[in-house]
């Protein structure tokens, strides 16, 4: 089985003349069709720029310095801009962190969803508007036929993120990139939105690249996880394996810093532990070689 | 545009105007008022009269140097008055809030509703022409934006908590305003004052041009242009050079203000005008 997405040795960063400042230092990972792959790491570790590089939305002065991104067998980095654009939204879609600012405040959500059908399926605006109602219904927005006429500011954060998801999944993409999709939401809403993403993508066979700093969320969503630290993918494993047996020092630190159920400190309150108390020497972290899973992933076993 | 291209050019231009004003008695070739000589009227620029002579045979170059004194005085003094009023009202309104805030806000809105040049014109009409009236007119009519900025900056400072901390320590209101708030809102206020100097110089020129500002024979750039208007066809240099002086001086203040803003807050660069 060939991977849907194959990121090979991706390097990106800033270039000052001949000098290059690398932010991603050679990241490689693969996502199988229909698989949900998690990228976890602290802020600034390079998760978000990786996702922007895949969908081709890196902003200057950031640029690709090396590597390849194969998607459905084609190297995205070598694709002409026009080709890349037609993939965006139709084959690769993205849901962003902040659903308020990610939606155009001056357009109804219906029109913003309809734009996907007009753009990629050549529908008329009238047809597309009808399809937008169905799209809203599919993300379980109540009274979708009324809600299509709403502006983003008239909706709650959870509803807005549902709109974003409806928009992203409108054209049945093969890969959905979700960049911290629930971080900005209330905890109570988070679970519903996560469930929605999980169920919709499972039903349609959409692969997901799920980015989060929250190991708990990653654990509920992903089959495999890559741990990023300072622009490197330091460890990758099946989610269960990673949680049971972390091998990279940073991953151990990350897991150790998770609050544990039932462990109580003084005065019945749990002491939160700083990640650095688990890691002996941060400067040595990036020297450690990338740790691949001990047992190959099921799909790769035969190859 | 690296760090402060605006700032440097603005500083240089402003510096030149200040030097011209300060050194006018030494740099000038003739007396700006007394050395009128009808035999030498309307001479084009030459070695003696660098920028030519006007209708009364006075040296345009010398008059321009003295004109710098007037423009600078007007720009600086009127902005000091504006800044004092604006900061006092804006800061106290935000600090105390309540009815005082309502009054200041209402007043600011009224001031903003009257175009400042019209307001200055009305005040000049009451006070009569002259330098002192100009200073008062321009000083009293342009504080609304400073007030708004001082008010909003103070409000955002208040929400930060260290003002409350000072209050719980029992500091007096005035002490808090002067030691905790004022130093922190000086940046944007300074930017407004610098930009305001530019517009004050322009307003002075406009009012003098309308015959309400500096009266002849005293040399203000605006009044020089009024005279030049009558004889633009025969002696265009009498219009070109004083206008150029206004342009460069105001450009200097504007660039300085922009540069200061960029330096103090790089994020503001795209925000304000």
């Amino acid at each position: 089985m060939t991977p849907l997405l194959d990121v090979r040795n991706l390097e990106l960063g800033l270039r000052h003349g001949a000098q290059a400042h690398r932010i991603l230092k050679g990241v490689s990972f693969q996502i199988m069709p229909g698989e949900t792959y998690g990228l976890v790491g602290e802020s600034g570790s390079g998760k978000s720029v990786t996702s922007l590089a895949i969908i081709g939305l890196l902003k200057k002065p950031l640029q690709i310095l090396g590597g390849e991104i194969f998607f459905e067998g084609r190297n995205l980095l070598a694709l002409p801009r026009r080709k890349m654009r037609s993939l965006r939204g139709s084959r690769i879609a993205m849901v962003f962190q902040e659903p308020m600012s990610a939606l155009n405040p001056l357009q109804t959500v219906g029109r913003q969803i309809a734009e996907m059908y007009v753009q990629h399926q050549g529908k008329s605006w009238a047809q597309a508007q009808k399809m937008a109602v169905e799209a809203l219904a599919s993300v379980r927005v109540p009274t979708p036929e009324r809600r299509v006429h709403d502006y983003p500011h008239q909706m709650s954060g959870g509803l807005r993120q549902r709109v974003m998801i409806a928009m992203a999944l409108a054209c049945d993409p093969a890969l959905l990139i979700a960049d911290e999709p629930t971080t900005a939401l209330d905890v109570t809403v988070q679970a519903e939105v996560l469930k929605l993403i999980r169920e919709l993508c499972a039903a349609r066979g959409t692969a997901v690249l799920f980015i989060s700093h929250d190991l708990g969320v990653i654990a509920t969503m992903c089959q495999r996880v890559g741990v990023m630290y300072a622009g490197c993918l330091v460890e990758e494993n099946a989610t269960r394996e990673l949680f049971v047996d972390p091998r990279h020092e940073y991953t151990r630190g990350l897991l150790g810093a998770l609050p544990k159920l039932g462990s109580r400190g003084l005065h019945g309150r749990q002491r939160l532990v700083d990640i650095d108390s688990f890691i002996a020497d941060r400067s040595r972290l990036t020297d450690t070689r990338f740790i691949a899973p001990r047992t190959p992933v099921s799909g790769e076993a035969g190859s | 545009m690296k760090l402060g291209f605006n700032l440097i050019l603005g500083g240089v231009l402003t510096g030149l105007v200040i030097l011209a004003g300060l050194l006018a008695p030494w740099l000038a070739h003739f007396d700006p008022v007394l050395d009128a000589d009808l035999m030498n009227a309307e001479l084009p620029p030459d070695a003696t009269y660098w920028f030519g002579t006007d209708a009364q045979g006075r040296d345009v170059y010398s008059r321009m140097l003295y004109g710098a004194q007037i423009s600078l005085t007007v720009g600086i003094v009127s902005q000091i008055i504006n800044t004092l009023i604006g900061v006092a009202l804006g800061m106290s309104a935000a600090y105390w809030g309540g009815w005082w805030d309502d009054i200041v806000n209402g007043l600011t809105n009224v001031m903003l509703a009257i175009p400042s040049l019209i307001f200055a014109l009305a005040v000049m009409a009451v006070l009569g022409p002259g330098l002192v009236s100009l200073l008062i007119a321009l000083g009293l009519t342009n504080w609304s934006w400073t007030c708004r900025i001082a008010r909003s900056s103070t409000l955002s400072l208040k929400s930060l908590g260290y003002v409350q901390a000072a209050q719980t320590l029992g500091y007096s209101d005035t002490r808090i305003m002067f030691t905790q708030i004022l130093p922190n809102i000086m940046g944007p206020v300074l930017v407004m004052a610098t930009l305001g100097m530019g517009s004050a110089v322009l307003s002075e020129a406009a009012l003098s041009f309308l015959g309400l500002g500096i009266q002849p024979p005293f040399p203000s750039w605006g009044s020089m242009l009024t005279d030049a208007r009558q004889m633009i066809q025969i002696a265009p240099w009498t219009a070109i050079f004083p206008g150029m002086a206004i342009f460069l001086a105001v450009l200097g203040f504007n660039l300085l203000g922009d540069g200061l803003r960029d330096m103090l807050d790089p994020h503001m660069r795209t925000r304000k005008l």
């Binding site: 939305l57 155009n104 | 633009i232």
Partner: protein, 311 residues
């Protein structure tokens, strides 16, 4: 929408009242009187008897509070008083002049918008380009230029030297007479508008929803047309409104320079003659103009931006 509009209109009334009061206060402390400016030639003292009679005729012999009541009473009936100089109703004088002023202001604003908005837009789409640099240098220069000086130079070149356009006056009201004053008056708003447009568009371009639009697979042109333009428009409309209101303030100088028969030159002439009712009336009309335009802007703003109506 209608309720919103009505509320906005009601909100400007107190401002107008305060301004009217302010104007009255300022001019009731005026030291030189109309009579003295009329009869004094600056060398000999004016005949006191003559002045007293004139003051009586004009109602200036009454105490201030009584004059104020009369003033307010008249204002309430939209009566701006009678000119000292021409003895004609102020409203009539203003009515004769305001159309020329409107004409000039509208022409100047059209000129500014047509040039500034596209320039600001293009500059923002290609920041750091030559066009951007030239536009921004041009804008700061335009802001720093004394308008009447620019007008004087334009007059010198295009009217006196090249003889292409009339140098001053309203003429028969043809476009040719309008061109030079309108361009002169339009330069400052042009510069400000170009800067605001650029800043506004840059701001919108940095918005997350523009990234979303790109992620949808839209082309650059589609993103700008469908998502950037309207959002930037909100800021542009506000600026245009503010500038349009303040235009009439600056127009005073330009009308004087080009001998344009608008309310600006009426104001300047009346100030010189100390014709206080006309001065008061003109300033009041200018303020009302300014407020009406701002209200109109608020309403248009609410039409463009669905977030406003909700409040």
């Amino acid at each position: 929408m209608l309720r919103f509009t009505i509320r906005r209109i009601l909100q400007i009334i107190p401002t107008i009242v305060v301004v009217a009061l302010l104007i009255f206060v300022i001019f009731s402390v005026v030291p030189g009187s109309f009579a003295s400016s009329l009869f004094s030639d600056g060398k000999t003292a004016a005949d006191p008897q003559l002045m007293a009679r004139l003051n009586e005729q004009l109602g200036l012999d009454k105490p201030v509070h009584q004059r104020f009541l009369t003033y307010v009473g008249d204002l309430a009936q939209l009566d701006l008083g009678t000119s000292f100089r021409t003895r004609r109703p102020v409203l009539e004088l203003i009515n004769e002049r305001i159309w020329a002023s409107l004409q000039l202001a509208v022409a100047a604003m059209i000129f500014a918008v047509v040039v500034a908005v596209p320039l600001g837009f293009l500059a923002a789409l290609r920041p750091g380009s030559i066009l951007d640099t030239v536009t921004m240098v041009g804008a700061v220069s335009g802001l720093s230029m004394p308008q009447f000086w620019l007008g004087l130079l334009l007059m010198y070149v295009f009217a006196l030297q090249l003889n292409w356009l009339p140098s001053f006056g309203y003429g028969d009201g043809s476009l040719r007479n309008l061109i030079l004053p309108a361009i002169t008056l339009g330069v400052t708003p042009l510069a400000l508008l170009a800067r605001t447009t650029r800043a506004g568009v840059l701001d919108v371009l940095n918005g997350d929803f523009v990234r979303t639009a790109h992620a949808k697979g839209l082309s650059e042109a589609q993103v700008v047309r469908r998502h950037v333009a309207r959002n930037a428009l909100v800021l542009i409309i506000t600026t245009v409104g503010l500038l349009f209101g303040s235009l009439i303030g600056q127009a005073v100088v330009i009308e004087k320079l080009f001998a344009w028969p608008g309310i600006g030159s009426l104001l300047v002439d009346s100030v010189a003659m100390r014709d206080i009712p006309v001065v008061q009336g003109t300033i009041l009309v200018i303020v009302v103009w300014f407020l009406v335009i701002n209200t109109a802007v608020d309403v248009i703003y609410a039409l463009v931006d669905p977030r406003i109506k909700q409040e």
